[in-house]
Point group: C2
Chain length 195, copies 2
């Protein structure tokens, strides 16, 4: 009776959990389901994860990390509306390709964990693309929040199927929205010499 170990680790479990989330939804990610996936008993996972909260937190951190990487990649070398579009598309594309991970990225983290997460990179990158619009504080903060709301709101509603009822393609509305945002932000630029 040769017993081969499954080779579990927090990292492997997290990755498998993220895949599971994309397949069945983040709220359906359970330790039991994960254990089944590794053909292992559910209690065995507790040797690698403190509890299911830790699993979810790790998946959330993974998603934030991946999303920040993609956005960083997309905006590199771009500025102005070009950067805005690249950021927004990277964001939306990730949410569509990885719905479970995207949900996970909204999992509520305790303050210290959040502070150490890639969430701060998101805020930094948003501020970076706003450099092309010459916004002074506190307008810049307002704009960060507005953009975050639009991107998250759109991704979230689209994932929920809210745009499925009407015959207009979600892609067109997205492009239109980005255009709109660009205009709005430019109209708020401060140091433009002649109004």
């Amino acid at each position: 009776m040769v017993v081969v170990r499954a080779g579990l680790s927090p990292e492997r479990l997290t990755l498998a959990g993220a895949e599971l989330a994309d397949e069945v939804g983040f709220d359906q990610v359970t330790l039991s389901a994960l254990a089944r996936r590794f053909d292992v008993k559910q209690a065995s996972l507790y040797a690698h994860l403190k509890n299911s909260h830790e699993l979810k937190t790790r998946i959330a951190l993974l998603a934030l990390e991946e999303l920040a990487d993609r956005v960083a990649d997309a905006v590199a070398g771009r500025a102005g509306k070009d950067a805005l579009t690249a950021f927004a598309n990277a964001y939306r594309d990730y949410a569509r390709a990885h719905p479970g991970r995207y949900e996970a990225a909204r999992y509520r983290l305790d303050p210290e964990t959040a502070a150490a997460s890639a969430g701060v990179r998101h805020a930094q990158m948003t501020r970076a693309i706003l450099r092309g619009y010459d916004l002074a504080e506190p307008d810049q903060t307002h704009a960060v929040r507005m953009l975050g709301s639009v991107f998250h709101g759109y991704a979230s509603l689209e994932a929920a199927g809210a745009f499925d009822h009407t015959d207009v393609a979600a892609q067109q509305s997205w492009d239109w929205t980005l255009d709109c945002l660009d205009t709005a932000l430019r109209s708020r630029s401060t140091p433009r010499p002649a109004a």
Copy 2:
């Protein structure tokens, strides 16, 4: 041994469920918790609700209804930016006053239920507001989606505490955002004679 009946009904259970959601979060609303609240055994609830999905669906419908009522009330007799602001504020205020119900309003409904819900009133009211901006199709649809995204995104991020880290008041960013949206929409008005 006088046994007094608890007087359960789908309506009372739904309302209590909504209150419970606001107190502990929509995902913490369970039939067991609800039964405890009525000092009744959990299995008894199945006489009034098919299952927990029905409870959640009913809470979602209640929330959509309430939200639509408030918005309708707020926008009545207003037009243009005034209407936009009233709509937006009613929306955000509801989300802040009733976080659990607001979460419930995002609960995924099956298509027929959604079609019969107050969700359609939301879309109608959004279109009504946009009448003040003279947008032709498909721009109107784009605008409906953009506004929905901003409102939902903002409420959702604010509820998640995403705006707590920076010292700028969420109210100010909200006002700024609405201003921005108004400008953006006006710049897209079609039948404005002279460009």
